[in-house]
Protein backbone atom coordinates (compact mmCIF):
# COMPACT_ATOMS: atom_id res chain seq x y z
CA UNK A 1 0.00 0.00 0.00
CA UNK A 2 2.82 2.38 0.67
CA UNK A 3 4.09 2.68 -2.85
CA UNK A 4 0.81 2.08 -4.54
CA UNK A 5 -1.18 5.19 -3.93
CA UNK A 6 -4.90 4.82 -3.89
CA UNK A 7 -4.79 1.07 -3.48
CA UNK A 8 -5.11 -1.36 -0.66
CA UNK A 9 -3.24 -4.58 -0.20
CA UNK A 10 -2.94 -7.04 2.59
CA UNK A 11 0.73 -7.70 1.97
CA UNK A 12 1.76 -5.27 4.66
CA UNK A 13 -0.46 -7.02 7.14
CA UNK A 14 1.24 -10.39 6.99
CA UNK A 15 2.34 -11.87 10.29
CA UNK A 16 0.42 -9.32 12.28
CA UNK A 17 -2.42 -9.92 14.64
CA UNK A 18 -5.80 -9.20 13.10
CA UNK A 19 -9.42 -9.07 13.96
CA UNK A 20 -11.59 -10.47 11.22
CA UNK A 21 -15.33 -10.05 11.06
CA UNK A 22 -17.12 -12.64 8.97
CA UNK A 23 -20.38 -12.37 7.15
CA UNK A 24 -22.11 -14.78 9.47
CA UNK A 25 -21.30 -12.49 12.37
CA UNK A 26 -18.38 -14.37 13.86
CA UNK A 27 -15.34 -12.52 15.06
CA UNK A 28 -11.99 -14.18 14.63
CA UNK A 29 -8.69 -13.01 16.00
CA UNK A 30 -5.47 -14.44 14.79
CA UNK A 31 -2.15 -13.90 13.10
CA UNK A 32 -2.46 -13.35 9.41
CA UNK A 33 -0.02 -15.71 7.80
CA UNK A 34 -0.91 -15.87 4.16
CA UNK A 35 -3.16 -14.28 1.59
CA UNK A 36 -3.91 -14.55 -2.09
CA UNK A 37 -5.44 -12.38 -4.74
CA UNK A 38 -8.99 -13.07 -3.57
CA UNK A 39 -8.11 -12.04 -0.03
CA UNK A 40 -8.50 -15.59 1.20
CA UNK A 41 -6.85 -15.58 4.58
CA UNK A 42 -4.81 -18.01 6.59
CA UNK A 43 -5.11 -17.21 10.27
CA UNK A 44 -2.85 -18.76 12.83
CA UNK A 45 -3.52 -19.24 16.55
CA UNK A 46 -7.01 -18.16 15.88
CA UNK A 47 -9.47 -17.42 18.57
CA UNK A 48 -13.17 -16.97 18.08
CA UNK A 49 -14.36 -14.16 20.28
CA UNK A 50 -17.96 -14.00 21.36
CA UNK A 51 -19.27 -10.71 22.69
CA UNK A 52 -22.38 -10.42 24.82
CA UNK A 53 -22.94 -7.05 26.41
CA UNK A 54 -19.78 -6.05 28.21
CA UNK A 55 -18.43 -9.55 28.47
CA UNK A 56 -16.54 -11.65 26.02
CA UNK A 57 -15.14 -15.10 25.79
CA UNK A 58 -12.48 -16.64 23.62
CA UNK A 59 -12.65 -20.05 22.04
CA UNK A 60 -9.30 -21.22 20.71
CA UNK A 61 -9.66 -22.59 17.22
CA UNK A 62 -6.21 -23.16 15.82
CA UNK A 63 -5.64 -22.53 12.15
CA UNK A 64 -8.33 -21.01 9.98
CA UNK A 65 -8.47 -20.72 6.24
CA UNK A 66 -11.12 -18.16 5.39
CA UNK A 67 -12.51 -17.72 1.92
CA UNK A 68 -12.17 -14.08 0.95
CA UNK A 69 -15.77 -13.47 0.00
CA UNK A 70 -16.92 -14.23 3.52
CA UNK A 71 -14.97 -11.45 5.14
CA UNK A 72 -16.80 -8.26 6.01
CA UNK A 73 -13.83 -6.40 7.34
CA UNK A 74 -10.56 -6.99 9.02
CA UNK A 75 -8.11 -4.82 10.86
CA UNK A 76 -4.80 -5.01 12.57
CA UNK A 77 -4.80 -5.23 16.33
CA UNK A 78 -2.52 -2.91 18.16
CA UNK A 79 -0.85 -5.16 20.64
CA UNK A 80 -0.17 -2.39 23.09
CA UNK A 81 -3.73 -1.18 23.11
CA UNK A 82 -5.18 -4.63 23.20
CA UNK A 83 -5.11 -4.85 26.95
CA UNK A 84 -6.83 -1.55 27.66
CA UNK A 85 -10.32 -2.67 27.08
CA UNK A 86 -13.39 -2.02 29.17
CA UNK A 87 -14.70 -5.44 28.39
CA UNK A 88 -14.55 -8.23 30.85
CA UNK A 89 -13.26 -11.61 29.81
CA UNK A 90 -15.17 -14.60 31.11
CA UNK A 91 -14.93 -18.32 30.66
CA UNK A 92 -16.19 -20.06 27.58
CA UNK A 93 -19.07 -21.75 29.33
CA UNK A 94 -20.29 -18.50 30.77
CA UNK A 95 -20.16 -16.62 27.52
CA UNK A 96 -21.94 -19.38 25.64
CA UNK A 97 -24.64 -19.32 28.27
CA UNK A 98 -24.94 -15.56 27.96
CA UNK A 99 -25.18 -15.87 24.24
CA UNK A 100 -27.91 -18.42 24.48
CA UNK A 101 -29.89 -16.17 26.81
CA UNK A 102 -29.46 -13.21 24.50
CA UNK A 103 -30.52 -15.23 21.51
CA UNK A 104 -33.60 -16.41 23.34
CA UNK A 105 -34.57 -12.87 24.34
CA UNK A 106 -34.17 -11.72 20.76
CA UNK A 107 -36.31 -14.54 19.43
CA UNK A 108 -38.97 -13.77 21.98
CA UNK A 109 -39.14 -10.11 21.06
CA UNK A 110 -39.19 -11.03 17.39
CA UNK A 111 -42.05 -13.39 17.98
CA UNK A 112 -44.01 -10.72 19.82
CA UNK A 113 -43.38 -8.27 17.03
CA UNK A 114 -44.56 -10.65 14.34
CA UNK A 115 -47.64 -11.42 16.37
CA UNK A 116 -48.45 -7.77 16.90
CA UNK A 117 -48.08 -7.10 13.19
CA UNK A 118 -50.21 -10.08 12.32
CA UNK A 119 -52.97 -8.77 14.53
CA UNK A 120 -52.91 -5.55 12.57
CA UNK A 121 -53.07 -7.29 9.28
CA UNK A 122 -49.51 -6.69 8.21
CA UNK A 123 -46.91 -9.25 7.42
CA UNK A 124 -43.21 -8.74 7.31
CA UNK A 125 -41.33 -11.05 4.98
CA UNK A 126 -38.99 -13.18 6.98
CA UNK A 127 -35.41 -12.20 6.33
CA UNK A 128 -33.40 -15.17 5.32
CA UNK A 129 -30.31 -15.76 7.38
CA UNK A 130 -28.48 -16.55 4.21
CA UNK A 131 -28.03 -13.20 2.65
CA UNK A 132 -29.47 -10.24 1.01
CA UNK A 133 -30.63 -10.07 -2.59
Amino acid sequence: MNYMPGTASLIQDIDKKHLVLLRDGRTLIGYLRSIDQFANLVLHQTVERIHVGKKYGDIPRGIFVVRGENVVLLGEIDLEKESDTLLQQVSIEEILEEQRVEQQAKQESERLKVQALKERGLCVPRADTLDEY
Binding site: N2, Y3, P5, D15, R33
Partner: protein, 491 residues
Protein backbone atom coordinates in the same frame (compact mmCIF):
# COMPACT_ATOMS: atom_id res chain seq x y z
CA UNK B 1 12.00 -33.83 25.98
CA UNK B 2 12.31 -31.83 22.91
CA UNK B 3 12.40 -28.32 24.13
CA UNK B 4 11.98 -26.91 20.69
CA UNK B 5 8.33 -27.75 20.44
CA UNK B 6 6.44 -24.75 21.65
CA UNK B 7 3.31 -25.36 23.57
CA UNK B 8 0.33 -24.56 21.36
CA UNK B 9 -2.04 -24.09 24.27
CA UNK B 10 -1.37 -20.43 24.73
CA UNK B 11 -3.94 -18.54 22.81
CA UNK B 12 -3.50 -15.56 25.02
CA UNK B 13 0.25 -15.39 24.88
CA UNK B 14 1.06 -12.46 22.69
CA UNK B 15 3.98 -12.98 20.44
CA UNK B 16 5.39 -9.87 19.08
CA UNK B 17 6.08 -10.62 15.48
CA UNK B 18 8.93 -8.79 13.83
CA UNK B 19 8.44 -6.82 10.69
CA UNK B 20 7.91 -9.24 7.90
CA UNK B 21 10.77 -9.40 5.46
CA UNK B 22 9.73 -6.67 3.12
CA UNK B 23 10.27 -6.92 -0.54
CA UNK B 24 12.38 -4.56 -2.50
CA UNK B 25 9.98 -1.89 -3.62
CA UNK B 26 12.21 -0.66 -6.38
CA UNK B 27 11.42 -3.74 -8.39
CA UNK B 28 7.86 -2.72 -8.97
CA UNK B 29 7.20 0.80 -8.04
CA UNK B 30 7.74 4.20 -9.39
CA UNK B 31 11.19 5.53 -8.59
CA UNK B 32 9.86 9.03 -8.04
CA UNK B 33 7.65 7.81 -5.25
CA UNK B 34 10.39 5.92 -3.47
CA UNK B 35 12.67 8.92 -3.64
CA UNK B 36 10.67 10.95 -1.24
CA UNK B 37 9.93 8.30 1.30
CA UNK B 38 12.02 6.93 4.08
CA UNK B 39 12.92 3.51 2.87
CA UNK B 40 14.01 2.05 6.15
CA UNK B 41 10.54 2.15 7.61
CA UNK B 42 7.87 1.39 5.03
CA UNK B 43 5.90 4.53 5.00
CA UNK B 44 2.32 3.54 5.01
CA UNK B 45 1.21 7.03 5.74
CA UNK B 46 0.47 7.90 2.13
CA UNK B 47 -3.18 7.17 2.05
CA UNK B 48 -4.34 7.32 5.61
CA UNK B 49 -6.92 9.65 7.00
CA UNK B 50 -5.10 12.77 8.22
CA UNK B 51 -6.23 12.17 11.79
CA UNK B 52 -4.95 8.64 11.67
CA UNK B 53 -1.72 9.86 10.17
CA UNK B 54 -1.21 12.26 13.03
CA UNK B 55 -1.83 9.59 15.62
CA UNK B 56 0.63 7.22 14.02
CA UNK B 57 3.40 9.77 13.65
CA UNK B 58 2.90 10.83 17.23
CA UNK B 59 3.17 7.29 18.43
CA UNK B 60 6.24 6.68 16.36
CA UNK B 61 7.86 9.76 17.80
CA UNK B 62 6.89 8.76 21.29
CA UNK B 63 8.33 5.32 21.01
CA UNK B 64 11.51 6.64 19.49
CA UNK B 65 11.90 9.30 22.13
CA UNK B 66 11.15 6.97 25.03
CA UNK B 67 13.83 4.68 23.80
CA UNK B 68 11.51 1.71 23.58
CA UNK B 69 12.92 -0.86 21.29
CA UNK B 70 10.88 -3.05 19.07
CA UNK B 71 11.27 -6.17 21.12
CA UNK B 72 12.73 -8.65 18.74
CA UNK B 73 11.07 -11.75 20.10
CA UNK B 74 11.26 -14.12 17.28
CA UNK B 75 7.93 -15.27 15.95
CA UNK B 76 8.72 -18.81 14.95
CA UNK B 77 5.70 -19.03 12.70
CA UNK B 78 6.46 -15.91 10.74
CA UNK B 79 7.56 -16.07 7.17
CA UNK B 80 5.07 -18.67 6.08
CA UNK B 81 4.59 -16.64 2.97
CA UNK B 82 7.83 -16.39 1.08
CA UNK B 83 8.74 -13.19 -0.66
CA UNK B 84 8.32 -14.93 -3.98
CA UNK B 85 4.71 -15.64 -3.14
CA UNK B 86 4.18 -12.06 -1.98
CA UNK B 87 5.62 -10.77 -5.21
CA UNK B 88 3.28 -12.96 -7.12
CA UNK B 89 0.23 -11.67 -5.26
CA UNK B 90 1.37 -8.11 -5.76
CA UNK B 91 1.85 -8.75 -9.43
CA UNK B 92 -1.67 -10.09 -9.77
CA UNK B 93 -3.04 -7.09 -7.92
CA UNK B 94 -1.14 -4.71 -10.15
CA UNK B 95 -2.46 -6.37 -13.25
CA UNK B 96 -5.94 -5.95 -11.91
CA UNK B 97 -5.30 -2.27 -11.48
CA UNK B 98 -4.46 -1.69 -15.10
CA UNK B 99 -7.32 -0.17 -16.93
CA UNK B 100 -7.57 1.56 -20.25
CA UNK B 101 -11.16 2.63 -20.27
CA UNK B 102 -12.82 5.05 -17.95
CA UNK B 103 -15.74 2.77 -17.20
CA UNK B 104 -13.83 0.57 -14.81
CA UNK B 105 -12.03 3.30 -13.12
CA UNK B 106 -14.11 6.40 -13.30
CA UNK B 107 -14.06 7.43 -9.65
CA UNK B 108 -10.40 6.75 -9.09
CA UNK B 109 -9.33 8.61 -12.19
CA UNK B 110 -11.62 11.55 -11.49
CA UNK B 111 -10.30 11.73 -7.96
CA UNK B 112 -6.76 11.80 -9.22
CA UNK B 113 -7.44 14.44 -11.87
CA UNK B 114 -8.99 16.66 -9.25
CA UNK B 115 -6.20 16.06 -6.80
CA UNK B 116 -3.62 16.97 -9.38
CA UNK B 117 -5.57 20.05 -10.45
CA UNK B 118 -5.94 21.18 -6.87
CA UNK B 119 -2.25 20.71 -6.21
CA UNK B 120 -1.36 22.55 -9.37
CA UNK B 121 -3.57 25.43 -8.26
CA UNK B 122 -2.08 25.47 -4.83
CA UNK B 123 1.34 25.43 -6.31
CA UNK B 124 0.37 28.37 -8.45
CA UNK B 125 -0.77 30.23 -5.40
CA UNK B 126 2.57 29.51 -3.90
CA UNK B 127 1.19 27.53 -1.02
CA UNK B 128 3.38 24.56 -1.38
CA UNK B 129 6.44 23.65 -3.33
CA UNK B 130 5.98 21.31 -6.17
CA UNK B 131 4.73 18.08 -4.75
CA UNK B 132 3.54 15.59 -7.19
CA UNK B 133 0.85 13.33 -5.93
CA UNK B 134 2.23 9.82 -5.85
CA UNK B 135 1.39 8.14 -9.08
CA UNK B 136 0.48 4.56 -9.48
CA UNK B 137 2.72 2.87 -11.95
CA UNK B 138 1.65 -0.56 -12.91
CA UNK B 139 3.99 -2.98 -14.58
CA UNK B 140 3.36 -3.18 -18.25
CA UNK B 141 1.95 -6.59 -18.62
CA UNK B 142 0.12 -7.41 -21.74
CA UNK B 143 -3.47 -7.98 -20.80
CA UNK B 144 -5.18 -10.65 -22.75
CA UNK B 145 -7.74 -8.74 -24.75
CA UNK B 146 -10.02 -11.55 -25.56
CA UNK B 147 -10.49 -14.36 -23.24
CA UNK B 148 -12.38 -17.46 -24.08
CA UNK B 149 -13.82 -18.76 -20.96
CA UNK B 150 -14.66 -21.93 -22.70
CA UNK B 151 -12.34 -23.91 -24.88
CA UNK B 152 -13.56 -26.37 -27.40
CA UNK B 153 -11.07 -29.02 -28.15
CA UNK B 154 -11.51 -30.23 -31.67
CA UNK B 155 -13.27 -33.48 -31.81
CA UNK B 156 -14.43 -33.40 -28.21
CA UNK B 157 -17.99 -33.55 -27.14
CA UNK B 158 -18.04 -30.89 -24.54
CA UNK B 159 -16.45 -27.68 -23.37
CA UNK B 160 -13.52 -27.29 -21.08
CA UNK B 161 -13.74 -24.52 -18.58
CA UNK B 162 -10.73 -22.25 -18.52
CA UNK B 163 -10.39 -20.14 -15.46
CA UNK B 164 -8.01 -17.25 -15.12
CA UNK B 165 -7.64 -14.61 -12.48
CA UNK B 166 -10.14 -12.45 -14.29
CA UNK B 167 -12.94 -14.89 -13.98
CA UNK B 168 -12.10 -17.90 -11.93
CA UNK B 169 -15.60 -19.15 -11.76
CA UNK B 170 -16.96 -18.64 -15.20
CA UNK B 171 -17.53 -22.16 -16.26
CA UNK B 172 -19.64 -21.70 -19.33
CA UNK B 173 -20.56 -18.87 -21.61
CA UNK B 174 -23.86 -18.00 -20.16
CA UNK B 175 -25.04 -15.21 -22.37
CA UNK B 176 -28.10 -13.30 -21.40
CA UNK B 177 -30.38 -13.74 -24.39
CA UNK B 178 -33.58 -12.59 -22.84
CA UNK B 179 -34.84 -9.56 -24.70
CA UNK B 180 -36.65 -7.12 -22.55
CA UNK B 181 -40.23 -7.22 -23.69
CA UNK B 182 -41.20 -3.60 -23.85
CA UNK B 183 -44.76 -3.96 -25.01
CA UNK B 184 -46.08 -4.92 -21.63
CA UNK B 185 -45.81 -2.84 -18.54
CA UNK B 186 -47.09 0.54 -17.58
CA UNK B 187 -46.31 3.71 -19.43
CA UNK B 188 -44.10 4.86 -16.68
CA UNK B 189 -42.05 1.68 -16.63
CA UNK B 190 -41.56 1.91 -20.34
CA UNK B 191 -40.51 5.52 -20.05
CA UNK B 192 -37.99 4.63 -17.35
CA UNK B 193 -36.59 1.76 -19.40
CA UNK B 194 -36.25 4.04 -22.38
CA UNK B 195 -34.47 6.70 -20.39
CA UNK B 196 -31.92 4.21 -19.11
CA UNK B 197 -31.29 2.86 -22.59
CA UNK B 198 -30.88 6.29 -24.13
CA UNK B 199 -28.70 7.43 -21.28
CA UNK B 200 -26.22 4.67 -22.00
CA UNK B 201 -26.12 5.78 -25.61
CA UNK B 202 -25.63 9.35 -24.48
CA UNK B 203 -22.69 8.35 -22.33
CA UNK B 204 -21.10 6.78 -25.37
CA UNK B 205 -21.61 9.98 -27.35
CA UNK B 206 -20.00 11.99 -24.59
CA UNK B 207 -17.14 9.54 -24.42
CA UNK B 208 -16.59 10.02 -28.14
CA UNK B 209 -16.70 13.74 -27.63
CA UNK B 210 -14.07 13.49 -24.94
CA UNK B 211 -11.76 11.41 -27.06
CA UNK B 212 -12.26 13.55 -30.10
CA UNK B 213 -9.11 13.97 -32.04
CA UNK B 214 -11.11 16.05 -34.47
CA UNK B 215 -10.76 13.31 -37.03
CA UNK B 216 -13.47 13.75 -39.60
CA UNK B 217 -14.81 10.24 -39.48
CA UNK B 218 -15.03 10.30 -35.71
CA UNK B 219 -17.03 13.51 -35.83
CA UNK B 220 -19.30 11.84 -38.33
CA UNK B 221 -19.70 8.82 -36.11
CA UNK B 222 -20.48 10.94 -33.12
CA UNK B 223 -23.14 12.92 -34.89
CA UNK B 224 -24.62 9.69 -36.18
CA UNK B 225 -24.89 8.35 -32.67
CA UNK B 226 -26.42 11.60 -31.46
CA UNK B 227 -28.85 11.44 -34.35
CA UNK B 228 -29.84 7.94 -33.33
CA UNK B 229 -30.67 9.05 -29.84
CA UNK B 230 -32.64 11.99 -31.19
CA UNK B 231 -34.70 9.74 -33.43
CA UNK B 232 -35.35 7.40 -30.56
CA UNK B 233 -36.79 10.25 -28.57
CA UNK B 234 -39.64 10.46 -31.07
CA UNK B 235 -40.30 14.09 -30.70
CA UNK B 236 -43.64 14.72 -32.31
CA UNK B 237 -44.91 17.76 -34.05
CA UNK B 238 -46.52 20.20 -31.73
CA UNK B 239 -49.98 19.59 -33.02
CA UNK B 240 -50.43 16.64 -30.74
CA UNK B 241 -52.31 17.67 -27.63
CA UNK B 242 -52.51 14.32 -25.91
CA UNK B 243 -49.78 14.74 -23.40
CA UNK B 244 -50.21 11.41 -21.72
CA UNK B 245 -49.50 9.66 -25.00
CA UNK B 246 -46.52 11.66 -26.07
CA UNK B 247 -43.46 9.55 -25.34
CA UNK B 248 -41.03 12.40 -25.27
CA UNK B 249 -43.06 14.29 -22.73
CA UNK B 250 -43.30 11.21 -20.57
CA UNK B 251 -39.53 11.08 -20.60
CA UNK B 252 -39.37 14.72 -19.67
CA UNK B 253 -41.57 14.11 -16.66
CA UNK B 254 -38.82 12.07 -15.09
CA UNK B 255 -35.88 13.95 -13.70
CA UNK B 256 -33.40 11.70 -15.42
CA UNK B 257 -35.20 12.27 -18.70
CA UNK B 258 -34.61 15.98 -18.27
CA UNK B 259 -30.96 15.36 -17.53
CA UNK B 260 -30.75 13.19 -20.63
CA UNK B 261 -32.23 15.92 -22.79
CA UNK B 262 -30.07 18.60 -21.22
CA UNK B 263 -26.90 16.65 -21.87
CA UNK B 264 -27.98 15.64 -25.35
CA UNK B 265 -28.75 19.17 -26.56
CA UNK B 266 -25.14 20.27 -27.14
CA UNK B 267 -24.60 17.32 -29.47
CA UNK B 268 -27.58 17.95 -31.70
CA UNK B 269 -27.86 20.02 -34.84
CA UNK B 270 -29.43 23.46 -34.41
CA UNK B 271 -32.68 22.42 -36.12
CA UNK B 272 -33.08 19.42 -33.84
CA UNK B 273 -32.29 21.48 -30.77
CA UNK B 274 -34.78 24.14 -31.81
CA UNK B 275 -37.42 21.49 -32.33
CA UNK B 276 -36.89 20.31 -28.78
CA UNK B 277 -37.15 23.87 -27.52
CA UNK B 278 -40.36 24.35 -29.47
CA UNK B 279 -41.86 21.17 -28.06
CA UNK B 280 -40.94 22.11 -24.53
CA UNK B 281 -42.39 25.58 -24.90
CA UNK B 282 -45.54 24.22 -26.49
CA UNK B 283 -46.13 21.93 -23.55
CA UNK B 284 -44.66 24.26 -20.98
CA UNK B 285 -47.72 24.46 -18.69
CA UNK B 286 -47.93 20.68 -18.58
CA UNK B 287 -44.23 20.33 -17.83
CA UNK B 288 -44.26 23.01 -15.18
CA UNK B 289 -47.20 21.42 -13.45
CA UNK B 290 -45.63 17.98 -13.59
CA UNK B 291 -42.33 19.27 -12.33
CA UNK B 292 -43.78 20.56 -9.11
CA UNK B 293 -45.45 17.29 -8.31
CA UNK B 294 -43.46 14.88 -6.29
CA UNK B 295 -42.25 12.04 -8.45
CA UNK B 296 -42.46 9.55 -5.65
CA UNK B 297 -46.18 9.84 -5.39
CA UNK B 298 -47.04 8.66 -8.85
CA UNK B 299 -48.67 5.30 -8.75
CA UNK B 300 -50.85 5.38 -11.83
CA UNK B 301 -50.89 7.28 -15.05
CA UNK B 302 -53.97 9.24 -15.85
CA UNK B 303 -52.44 12.36 -17.24
CA UNK B 304 -53.78 14.51 -14.45
CA UNK B 305 -52.04 15.20 -11.19
CA UNK B 306 -52.18 12.50 -8.56
CA UNK B 307 -52.69 13.02 -4.86
CA UNK B 308 -50.63 11.00 -2.46
CA UNK B 309 -52.68 8.60 -0.45
CA UNK B 310 -51.64 8.65 3.16
CA UNK B 311 -53.37 5.71 4.75
CA UNK B 312 -54.36 7.10 8.11
CA UNK B 313 -55.53 3.75 9.35
CA UNK B 314 -54.07 0.76 7.59
CA UNK B 315 -56.86 -1.28 6.19
CA UNK B 316 -56.78 -4.91 7.07
CA UNK B 317 -54.68 -6.79 4.59
CA UNK B 318 -53.62 -3.69 2.68
CA UNK B 319 -49.93 -3.17 2.17
CA UNK B 320 -48.34 0.07 3.25
CA UNK B 321 -48.25 1.77 -0.13
CA UNK B 322 -51.37 1.62 -2.24
CA UNK B 323 -50.89 -0.39 -5.34
CA UNK B 324 -52.90 -0.60 -8.45
CA UNK B 325 -53.67 -4.03 -9.66
CA UNK B 326 -51.32 -5.00 -12.38
CA UNK B 327 -49.12 -1.96 -11.85
CA UNK B 328 -45.69 -2.11 -10.46
CA UNK B 329 -44.80 0.63 -8.06
CA UNK B 330 -41.31 1.48 -9.00
CA UNK B 331 -38.93 3.51 -6.96
CA UNK B 332 -38.40 6.97 -8.29
CA UNK B 333 -35.09 7.65 -9.87
CA UNK B 334 -34.39 10.38 -7.40
CA UNK B 335 -34.52 9.59 -3.70
CA UNK B 336 -37.93 10.20 -2.18
CA UNK B 337 -38.28 13.27 -0.03
CA UNK B 338 -38.62 12.59 3.65
CA UNK B 339 -42.14 13.25 4.75
CA UNK B 340 -42.45 15.67 7.58
CA UNK B 341 -45.27 14.09 9.48
CA UNK B 342 -45.82 17.11 11.66
CA UNK B 343 -45.95 19.65 8.90
CA UNK B 344 -47.59 18.02 5.92
CA UNK B 345 -51.30 17.61 5.84
CA UNK B 346 -52.11 14.27 4.29
CA UNK B 347 -53.22 14.68 0.76
CA UNK B 348 -52.12 18.27 0.41
CA UNK B 349 -49.67 19.18 -2.24
CA UNK B 350 -46.84 21.43 -1.22
CA UNK B 351 -46.01 23.55 -4.19
CA UNK B 352 -44.36 26.54 -2.60
CA UNK B 353 -40.76 26.29 -3.79
CA UNK B 354 -39.45 28.00 -0.70
CA UNK B 355 -40.92 25.46 1.65
CA UNK B 356 -38.56 22.71 2.75
CA UNK B 357 -41.36 20.27 2.12
CA UNK B 358 -41.60 21.13 -1.54
CA UNK B 359 -40.01 18.60 -3.82
CA UNK B 360 -37.04 19.77 -5.80
CA UNK B 361 -37.85 21.05 -9.25
CA UNK B 362 -35.76 19.62 -12.00
CA UNK B 363 -36.81 21.72 -15.02
CA UNK B 364 -34.03 24.23 -14.28
CA UNK B 365 -31.65 21.50 -15.44
CA UNK B 366 -32.78 22.29 -18.94
CA UNK B 367 -32.30 26.01 -18.63
CA UNK B 368 -28.60 26.20 -19.35
CA UNK B 369 -28.52 24.14 -22.58
CA UNK B 370 -31.78 25.73 -23.81
CA UNK B 371 -30.33 29.13 -23.12
CA UNK B 372 -27.51 28.32 -25.49
CA UNK B 373 -29.98 27.15 -28.11
CA UNK B 374 -31.92 30.39 -27.76
CA UNK B 375 -28.73 32.37 -28.22
CA UNK B 376 -28.27 30.91 -31.68
CA UNK B 377 -31.81 31.20 -32.95
CA UNK B 378 -32.94 33.37 -35.81
CA UNK B 379 -35.53 36.06 -35.24
CA UNK B 380 -38.32 34.18 -37.01
CA UNK B 381 -37.69 31.07 -35.01
CA UNK B 382 -37.69 33.11 -31.85
CA UNK B 383 -41.06 34.57 -32.75
CA UNK B 384 -42.38 31.07 -33.37
CA UNK B 385 -41.33 30.02 -29.87
CA UNK B 386 -42.77 33.13 -28.28
CA UNK B 387 -46.04 32.53 -30.08
CA UNK B 388 -46.30 29.17 -28.37
CA UNK B 389 -46.02 30.87 -25.05
CA UNK B 390 -48.68 33.41 -25.75
CA UNK B 391 -51.19 30.97 -27.18
CA UNK B 392 -54.27 30.80 -24.96
CA UNK B 393 -54.95 27.42 -23.44
CA UNK B 394 -58.23 25.55 -23.87
CA UNK B 395 -58.61 24.43 -20.25
CA UNK B 396 -57.28 27.35 -18.35
CA UNK B 397 -57.96 31.09 -18.35
CA UNK B 398 -54.30 31.77 -17.66
CA UNK B 399 -51.86 32.27 -20.45
CA UNK B 400 -48.73 30.14 -20.56
CA UNK B 401 -46.75 33.32 -20.07
CA UNK B 402 -48.52 34.07 -16.82
CA UNK B 403 -47.96 30.55 -15.57
CA UNK B 404 -44.34 30.80 -16.60
CA UNK B 405 -43.86 33.90 -14.49
CA UNK B 406 -44.67 31.85 -11.42
CA UNK B 407 -42.22 29.10 -12.22
CA UNK B 408 -38.48 29.44 -11.96
CA UNK B 409 -37.71 27.69 -15.21
CA UNK B 410 -40.56 29.37 -17.03
CA UNK B 411 -39.56 32.88 -16.08
CA UNK B 412 -35.91 32.22 -16.83
CA UNK B 413 -36.75 30.86 -20.27
CA UNK B 414 -39.05 33.78 -20.99
CA UNK B 415 -36.44 36.31 -20.00
CA UNK B 416 -33.85 34.49 -22.04
CA UNK B 417 -36.08 34.62 -25.13
CA UNK B 418 -36.87 38.29 -24.69
CA UNK B 419 -33.25 39.11 -24.08
CA UNK B 420 -32.18 37.36 -27.24
CA UNK B 421 -34.86 39.15 -29.25
CA UNK B 422 -33.71 42.46 -27.90
CA UNK B 423 -30.13 41.59 -28.73
CA UNK B 424 -31.04 40.73 -32.29
CA UNK B 425 -33.06 43.89 -32.72
CA UNK B 426 -30.41 46.17 -31.34
CA UNK B 427 -27.59 44.61 -33.28
CA UNK B 428 -26.76 45.47 -36.86
CA UNK B 429 -27.21 42.03 -38.34
CA UNK B 430 -30.00 41.74 -40.88
CA UNK B 431 -32.91 39.86 -39.40
CA UNK B 432 -34.75 38.43 -42.42
CA UNK B 433 -38.02 38.36 -40.63
CA UNK B 434 -41.16 36.79 -42.01
CA UNK B 435 -44.23 38.94 -42.44
CA UNK B 436 -46.02 39.65 -39.23
CA UNK B 437 -42.95 38.92 -37.12
CA UNK B 438 -42.45 42.43 -35.84
CA UNK B 439 -46.10 42.78 -34.96
CA UNK B 440 -46.00 39.52 -33.05
CA UNK B 441 -42.89 40.69 -31.30
CA UNK B 442 -44.42 43.92 -30.11
CA UNK B 443 -47.57 42.08 -29.09
CA UNK B 444 -45.57 39.66 -27.02
CA UNK B 445 -43.59 42.41 -25.36
CA UNK B 446 -46.75 44.25 -24.41
CA UNK B 447 -48.32 41.04 -23.21
CA UNK B 448 -45.36 40.21 -20.99
CA UNK B 449 -45.27 43.72 -19.60
CA UNK B 450 -48.96 43.57 -18.84
CA UNK B 451 -48.78 40.21 -17.14
CA UNK B 452 -45.71 41.23 -15.20
CA UNK B 453 -47.44 44.27 -13.83
CA UNK B 454 -50.61 42.37 -13.00
CA UNK B 455 -49.07 39.38 -11.30
CA UNK B 456 -48.56 40.13 -7.60
CA UNK B 457 -44.95 40.35 -6.55
CA UNK B 458 -45.39 37.51 -4.10
CA UNK B 459 -46.20 35.04 -6.85
CA UNK B 460 -43.32 36.13 -9.04
CA UNK B 461 -40.40 33.78 -8.83
CA UNK B 462 -36.81 34.81 -9.07
CA UNK B 463 -35.28 33.64 -12.35
CA UNK B 464 -32.10 31.68 -12.60
CA UNK B 465 -30.56 34.54 -14.47
CA UNK B 466 -31.78 38.08 -15.08
CA UNK B 467 -30.54 39.44 -18.41
CA UNK B 468 -29.41 43.03 -18.35
CA UNK B 469 -31.06 44.21 -21.55
CA UNK B 470 -34.66 43.56 -20.52
CA UNK B 471 -35.16 47.01 -19.11
CA UNK B 472 -33.87 48.65 -22.25
CA UNK B 473 -36.29 46.46 -24.18
CA UNK B 474 -39.19 47.68 -22.11
CA UNK B 475 -37.99 51.26 -22.36
CA UNK B 476 -38.39 51.15 -26.09
CA UNK B 477 -42.04 50.22 -26.05
CA UNK B 478 -43.41 51.48 -22.77
CA UNK B 479 -43.55 54.72 -20.89
CA UNK B 480 -41.19 55.54 -18.08
CA UNK B 481 -43.67 55.01 -15.30
CA UNK B 482 -44.52 51.51 -16.40
CA UNK B 483 -40.88 50.70 -16.83
CA UNK B 484 -40.10 51.78 -13.29
CA UNK B 485 -43.00 49.73 -12.03
CA UNK B 486 -41.72 46.67 -13.89
CA UNK B 487 -38.21 47.27 -12.70
CA UNK B 488 -39.40 47.19 -9.13
CA UNK B 489 -41.21 43.97 -9.85
CA UNK B 490 -38.30 42.25 -11.49
CA UNK B 491 -35.85 42.93 -8.73
Amino acid sequence: MSPNISCPQQPLAMHFGPMSPSLDPALFFSPSASGQLNLSVPNRLTQLHPQHQRILTQRQQQSISSGKLWSPKVDSNAGLMTSKEKDWVIKVEMIQLQSENMDDDYYYQMYYHRLEQRQAEEELLGWRNRQEPPKLVTPFIQKVETYNSVVRIAGSLGQVAVSTCYSPRRAIDAVHHALVEEATGSHRLRALHKIEKLFLQLLEVEEMQRKMSLAAEEQEQKSQEAERIYQALKIRACSSEEEAEDEFLQLLCVQKGKKLTARLLPHLSPEQAEKILLTITHHLPFLMKKDVLDEASISSRAGASQAVSFPSAPAAGAPYMSRQLGEVWCWPLCPPRPWDGAGAVPGQRVSDPCSPLCPVQSLPLLYSPLNKVVGRMTFSKLIEVLQEMSRPLPESPELPITMALKNQFGISLLYSLLSHGEKLLSSDTPLEPCSGDFETWTDVVFLVARELSQVPKASLVEPLFLPSNLLSLFCRYLDKQTVHHLEAKME
